[in-house]
Symmetry: C2
Subunit: 310 residues, 2 copies
């Protein structure tokens, strides 16, 4: 989800990023020292991948899904309701199409049309901004890539890797899942499997009913754990990871004020899930994530039922 | 989904049904000759189950999910868009709370809030009536039972049985999946497994882009295949079936003008999926249905991503 305050900054950053990509894409980032040499040398990202705004529409599951077995289902979703913490929940003034516009709260509204008491039928009209509750960020949220209906269903069923940063996040709401966290996980469990979804477990889900979830600072900015851009580069270049998941409402935090992770990850035809729940109830390795994303034409994301098969 | 023309009829039928239930529930229906004796004698439904409007909130998966293996994922959902065929798609006048009200079309609206071209972000506001596209009917749609957020996630993962009535439906858009179809299936494959979802494959999904899907008659009523109420009684009483699925937009058709199947099934804390797709791509037995139903508080149903693990 984007912060409304970022919209204007973003346009400048896009220009800068495209210039960087033209100089050698992620390789340029690596050569700046933010990635280990082993990563940048393993797969260098050609300039054309990020220099053009419309990425190739990838199909990750070109091979059949590996045989999967399970005997338990875990709900990785929060229940969505009008008070669910969200960006824009107070409404904001933003600039879009050059105009200053008041944007109403990005929450869900459930309005009864028929009610049992009167009609012997219940039926509601539901309205939401796509990026609320446990929801997908499709590539199209931060690029001209695939919308939710363009992601094939077999790419919504992926091996799940859960990386725990709870101890650090308990001390610092701006903690980042960094490249060392991934390496430490791989030392214990081996390389992250192909086609994985990598989830950050920062312990934030348990704060969903309190003000800690947003952790607003004095300037009204949200503070929450997120992914470090270097970790994201590693997962893109050294591993074949399809999706990120976070138990906060953004992959980015104040350390990446230009939504770097969103632009880099979604701009490369990968996708993610925000506001994931119950990561303590699944093993760090071996579960399968299933993202029940309604296939709404043109959607940039939206509320879904995410679950794990264990 | 309910037909708006039915709302008034329904109130009368509810009174009649409650009276029937007080006489012995489904046992009374069986003794009237619409169910075989073997069904009515196996499990008689006590009057209290249907006589009260608020059914007990059941948890079907009290035991762990049986070990399941799969190596293929099939999308059982249609893509939802503003032209998707739906009840109310022309708007209707209905009576609710004693007032005559114009009800707008029950379709989905996807309205851009931010657009890539202008804002370097895409984000839409989505509005829908809950019962459109591939969607759940929760018990609460036709009862005071569970809403979508009250169905535990393990009950959204069920053994899938597909019963084919395509030959009959090709000749008659009002064809019904009847008790003989179920018995014929069981003769070939054994008893329907516990906790199953039973899906009707009428071949209707392939008509979704044509007027055949609605098959409006001269009076403007929809014609489409559905479940026979006796088949539904069998699945409730003689078998432990949790969910129905249909490749049309209703479990009921003109043979059950009072939405009998909806009231009976959903009123017993069971649920269903309408507008299912691609049933030809899954085996008649042995697949697992996964219903990715967004958990929106108070929802009577709603668009979801339904898939099969094969």
């Amino acid at each position: 989800m984007c912060s409304p305050a970022l919209i204007e900054q973003v346009k400048k950053r896009i220009s800068r990023r495209n210039a960087l990509a033209a100089l050698g894409g992620a390789g340029a980032a690596a050569s700046s020292g933010c990635l280990p040499a082993a990563v940048s040398s393993k797969k260098s990202t050609p300039a054309k991948k990020t220099a053009t705004p419309a990425p190739k529409k990838r199909r990750w599951a070109s091979k059949p899904v590996d045989q999967v077995s399970f005997s338990r289902v875990v709900d990785l979703s929060h229940t969505l309701h009008p008070d669910f913490p969200a960006w824009f929940s107070e409404g904001k003034e933003v600039t879009t199409r050059g105009k200053r516009t008041f944007v109403p709260p990005a929450v869900v509204e459930v309005k009864p049309v028929f009610e049992w008491e009167h009609d012997k039928v219940n039926l509601n009209q539901v309205t939401y901004w796509e990026h609320v509750g446990t929801h997908m960020d499709a590539p199209a949220h931060f690029s001209e890539g695939s919308t939710v209906d363009e992601i094939p269903v077999e790419d919504l069923v992926l091996p799940l890797v859960v990386i725990d940063i709870k101890v650090r996040a308990a001390k610092d709401p701006l903690a980042l899942l960094n490249i060392e966290d991934i390496r430490s996980w791989e030392d214990d469990h081996g390389p992250i499997p192909d086609r994985a979804c990598v989830a950050m477990n920062s312990g934030w889900a348990k704060h969903v009913k309190t003000s800690k979830f947003k952790s607003l600072d004095k300037a009204g900015k949200h503070r929450q754990p997120a992914f470090h851009i270097d970790a994201v580069e590693y997962l893109m270049q050294a591993r074949e990871v399809v999706a990120l998941a976070v138990d906060t409402f953004s992959f980015d935090n104040q350390h990446s004020p230009g939504s770097d992770v969103h632009y880099r990850w979604l701009g490369d035809e990968r996708w993610g899930i925000e506001n994931v729940n119950n990561l303590d109830d699944v093993p760090t390795k071996g579960a399968t994530i299933v993202v029940g994303q309604p296939s709404i034409k043109g959607g940039s994301g939206g509320p879904n039922r995410t679950m794990a098969l264990v």
